[in-house]
């Protein structure tokens, strides 16, 4: 069985995470689409911390002898997923950044051409 203190500590940590994410969304510093994974992480960790029987069962099924370790494994799993998600987000952002820079440069070029009275097709 999970020691009571571990459960309490984990539940408090999960609650702090949830409140922080909520406050960041409320103050418009975090968009929903990037908050969902954090909310899921917080909810799952909180549920497993409070529902100690479920954590014990999950640990037994996955062959983890000491139930609190299952909590750590789970937290590590979620952090990995969040990081992977951010990697895809960064990839997309850098691609869009390239497109924006190119479009801006081409626009400036066209603007310069028309201001300089050079030949344009308009």
């Amino acid at each position: 069985m999970t020691p009571l203190r571990v459960s309490i500590f984990a539940a408090i940590a999960a609650a702090i995470l949830l409140v922080t994410v909520f406050e960041l969304m409320r103050s418009r510093r975090l968009q929903e689409r990037y908050a969902l994974l954090w909310l899921l992480t917080g909810v799952v960790v909180f549920v497993l911390a409070v529902w100690r029987g479920l954590l014990g069962w999950a640990a037994e099924v996955s062959g983890i002898a000491y139930p609190p370790s299952a909590l750590f494994v789970l937290a590590a799993f979620f952090i990995t997923v969040v990081l992977l998600h951010y990697s895809t987000v960064i990839s997309k952002l850098s691609e869009q950044n390239t497109i924006l820079a190119q479009r801006l440069a081409l626009l400036e070029g066209r603007l310069g051409e028309s201001e300089g009275g050079a030949t344009t097709d308009e």
């Binding site: 969304m25 409320r26 103050s27 418009r28 968009q31 929903e32 689409r33 969902l36 909310l39 497109i99």
Partner: protein, 257 residues
């Protein structure tokens, strides 16, 4: 508000009973097969409407077809999602000083023949945002049951949050007056299924909402882009957004003009 509109009309000295400047915003993603008909129908429903097509990163000939049909085409450099596209249209309407803008889907499911109905509450100064509802009046909206139930559930939740009975918060057939154009041009939800969130934002910042019954067509071309897992994801996202929206302060003070 009506006095203001009338004053503007007089000021411009334009002919006709109503000299308001009106624009249809048509967000489009790969709709080359239906966009031409939509533009033509808007023109025949009300020739006073300007049309701006927001091409949200299409890879087909959507932009070219729309331009051939005489619409103004604003091409986004990459796909922003429907919310970002609509907001671009509202920014265009704000920058070009339009009094009324109507959002119309490019896939042909919104019947431009219903346009005049959407405009009435705006012209009479009863509302800032008018939503064409599929569930008011005659019930002839045919869609998969699961989707209909989803739409109704969102409408219920949003009605409670905004304290006004609403029947269709998922409808994207909407008309906006100047106040709404000004606010949404600066603060509009991004991504997909944005209308539910936009409804909450509108009510929270003091924009007046009104629904009018409209008949929508069956989707003629193309399939709905929503699969079941995506629907669930978007539903959760919207629910979270609505919940947070209750506690969120407004991004901007509503400007009276």
């Amino acid at each position: 508000m009506p006095e203001q509109l009338l004053a503007r009309t007089a000021q411009r000295g334009e002919g006709g009973a109503v000299g308001l400047r009106k624009i249809a915003i048509v967000p489009a993603l790969n709709e080359e097969r239906s966009i031409a008909a939509v533009i033509a129908e808007i023109r025949s429903a009300d020739p006073e409407f300007d049309v701006v097509v927001i091409d949200d990163g299409s890879t087909d000939r959507t932009a070219a077809v729309a331009a051939e049909k005489g619409a103004v085409v604003v091409s986004l450099p990459f796909n922003l999602g429907i919310g970002g596209a609509v907001q671009t249209g509202l920014q265009y309407a704000r920058d070009h000083d339009f009094d009324i803008s109507v959002q119309i889907d490019a896939d042909g499911q919104h019947d431009p023949g219903e346009l005049p109905k959407l405009l009435v509450p705006l012209i009479e100064g009863e509302a800032d945002v008018v939503v064409g509802s599929r569930f008011l009046g005659e019930k002839n909206y045919k869609a998969p049951m699961l989707r209909r139930i989803g739409i109704r559930i969102f409408a219920r939740i949003v009605s409670t949050v905004v304290g006004q009975p609403l029947t269709d918060t998922s409808s994207s057939f909407r008309a906006y007056g100047r106040r709404a154009i000004g606010y949404f041009a600066r603060d509009y939800p991004h991504g997909f299924v944005e209308t539910v969130e936009a409804t909450v934002i509108a009510a929270r910042c003091g924009l007046r909402l009104k629904e009018v019954p409209v008949v929508m067509r069956q989707r003629v071309i193309g399939q709905s882009s929503l699969t079941l897992p995506l629907s669930i994801y978007y539903s959760i996202k919207v629910l979270v957004a609505v919940f947070v929206g209750i506690f969120r302060r407004n991004a901007y003070e509503l400007k009276e003009d």
